[in-house]
């Protein structure tokens, strides 16, 4: 009787797993996280719809965002005519079209404002944490001062003095929203600046900018991406609040916030005019926060619950 053919498998061969890098590992985790994937899909759809607002308005809804139809004011949502899928407003304008153009404004302000605040926060936080000394004192002083001013108060005051368009509004909100990011970047930099590998880089003569950009910054990139998601959401909320009050994006340009600014008149005649823009803001911001949380868990499961929405609080 022949001995059964047994192929010997070494434990090592069984355990061997192709080594993968940080980013592909994170990608793998995200792919298996249904909540994050669903949120990403919603956001992608939102961006796509916002980007094709012109096309959709022309060819599907056949309505511009300023076009009025005074015979159809307060039109309830109806399936009969594409332009009134989500109803008409107090001037008979198509709410679908206005929500689409509002998405453009909100997403643009959110993303651009986040770029500004991330840029400022990272630059100030990194340099303050690395150089310490008087520069650190200045940055900390700025952070304390700004965090002691109610931001919405300040935005209203600025809105009163200067005429703001979408671009200047996003820059402005970004310039006031970098505090949390700077704090975080500064703390991380202080923790890393005396590590051995940074000392090694310094001892072979690397310049300060090089150390900051090549040796410290890459370490905080993953967490900065998480904070960016939260930041975009917070800025969209801040913009909508400001526009709701009438000091943000000015009509006739529709934004999700200013569509709600006459809302008291809508209570009886058109509740859909309150619900639609409000839900649009909520869903967008919620998806951004969920993606932020998902990315955080994907980058480093140990961080679960440490930063992100549960840490930051509202941006108002």
């Amino acid at each position: 009787m022949a001995a059964p053919a047994v192929t010997l498998r070494t434990p090592a061969a069984e355990l061997a797993r192709p080594s993968i890098g940080f980013w592909s590992d994170a990608l793998h985790r995200i792919r298996h996280d249904p909540v994050t994937m669903a949120s990403l899909a919603v956001l992608a759809a939102m961006v796509l719809l916002a980007a094709s607002a012109d096309l959709l308005a022309q060819h599907v809804f056949r309505f511009t965002f300023t076009q009025q139809d005074l015979l159809r004011t307060w039109e309830k949502p109806t399936l009969d005519e594409p332009a009134y899928w989500l109803g008409g407003d107090n001037l008979g304008r198509s709410q679908v079209v206005r929500v689409l153009y509002g998405a453009r404004i909100s997403l643009f302000i959110g993303v651009f404002g986040a770029l500004v605040s991330m840029g400022m926060g990272i630059a100030l936080g990194l340099t303050a944490g690395y150089f310490r000394g008087w520069w650190d004192d200045v940055v900390v002083w700025l952070v304390t001062t700004l965090s002691n001013i109610p931001i919405l108060f300040l935005l209203i005051m600025i809105g009163l003095y200067f005429r703001l368009d979408a671009l200047s509004l996003s820059i402005l909100i970004g310039m006031l929203g970098w505090l949390g990011i700077a704090n975080f970047a500064r703390g991380q930099t202080i923790a890393l600046r005396d590590r051995e590998y940074v000392q090694a880089a310094r001892s072979v003569g690397a310049s300060a900018p090089r150390i900051m950009l090549r040796h410290i910054f890459p370490n905080i990139v993953p967490l900065m991406i998480v904070l960016a998601m939260v930041d975009i959401g917070g800025i969209i909320l801040a913009e909508s609040a400001l526009s709701y009050l009438g000091f943000g994006v000015q009509p006739p340009q529709p934004s999700w916030g200013n569509m709600l600014s006459g809302a008291t008149a809508f209570y009886f005649k058109g509740p859909h005019l309150i619900v639609v823009p409000g839900v649009a803001i909520t869903v967008t911001v919620l998806c951004l926060y969920l993606v932020g949380d998902g990315l955080r868990d994907a980058f480093d499961p140990r961080l679960r619950g440490s930063i992100g929405v549960s840490h930051g609080g509202r941006n108002e």
């Binding site: 002083w141 700025l142 304390t144 001062t145 700004l146 965090s147 002691n148 001013i149 109610p150 931001i151 919405l152 108060f153 300040l154 209203i156 005051m157 600025i158 809105g159 009163l160 003095y161 200067f162 959401g233 909320l237 909508s240 609040a241 709701y244 009050l245 009438g246 000091f247 916030g257 709600l260 809302a263 209570y267 009886f268 509740p271 309150i274 619900v275 823009p277 409000g278 803001i281 909520t282 911001v285 919620l286 951004l288 926060y289 969920l290 949380d293 619950g305 929405v309 549960s310 609080g313 509202r314 108002e316």
Partner: protein
Amino acid sequence: MGRFIARRLVQAIPTIFGIMIITFALTRLSPSDPVTIMLGNNPDLTEEDREELREKLGLNDPLPVQFVRYVGDTARLDFGTSFRHNRPAIEVIGERLPNSLQLSVASLLLAIVVSVPLGLIAGVKRGRIADQAIRGVSVLLHAVPLFFLGLLFVLVFGVGLGWFPVGSMNVIGESCFFCWDRVWHMAGPVIIGATGGIAFIPRVLRTEVLEILGQDFVRTARSKGLRERVVLARHVFRNALIPIVTLFGGILTILLGGSVIIEQVFNWPGLGRLLFDAANSKDYPLVQASVLIGSLLLVVSYILRDLAYAWVDPRIKAG
């Protein structure tokens, strides 16, 4: 404690200085000329009249001189004169401030009453359905704009069901600060204001509970045979509640910032509403005074928070 208080007060000076630089700079950078704002385009006034007013207001002085005068005026509690009310801005603000504080304090209390049990449950039942649900609700509350939540509240409970009044502080003809009528009118704004805190206090408490559950003294308490209930109540919860004190300052920021929104939605005549109206009627001195006073309130609330924290947790004083 005396030294701690003194140190904390001194620390506030540069912050107040910074706030004043910002409010001052904004007013001076503004493209609108204060004299034109005050006089309008009245054709009866000659250029000499305008120049005279400018000189009288000190607008021709160098900026540093103007700034020093601004600091001096503020120190004497002179915040300028409101255009619209034609009275000192501080008087107008002083009338509205109690209404805002009443709303903020009530919202704060409600937020804590709701959040503390939620946070403790989430921490103890980590990973269970209750924890997941609390986490979900907190993310959702973060994402909803306050004004949308407020409008929905009015739409459903005010206009739809008629349970709560749609706006203002008292029924017509009545005017009282502490009474059931006021409580009834406050319900809406307070519930909406509290959501700002409910969105994040439970998460903070949960983290705190989890951290304390891993401490040695908890293991000791368990190993000497204490019932789990006693361990939680005496050892875990008492320690976990310490940081609630630190949250006061942060929540006040949210409440004050949100006050413009909430007072606007519920038509509540407080500081936020005053700022809104002042900005709409281009009452520049009143806007400037509101921003400055709102910021000073925050500075004071942060100081009180730090003192309270040092009082509850003596380790802080050393640091």
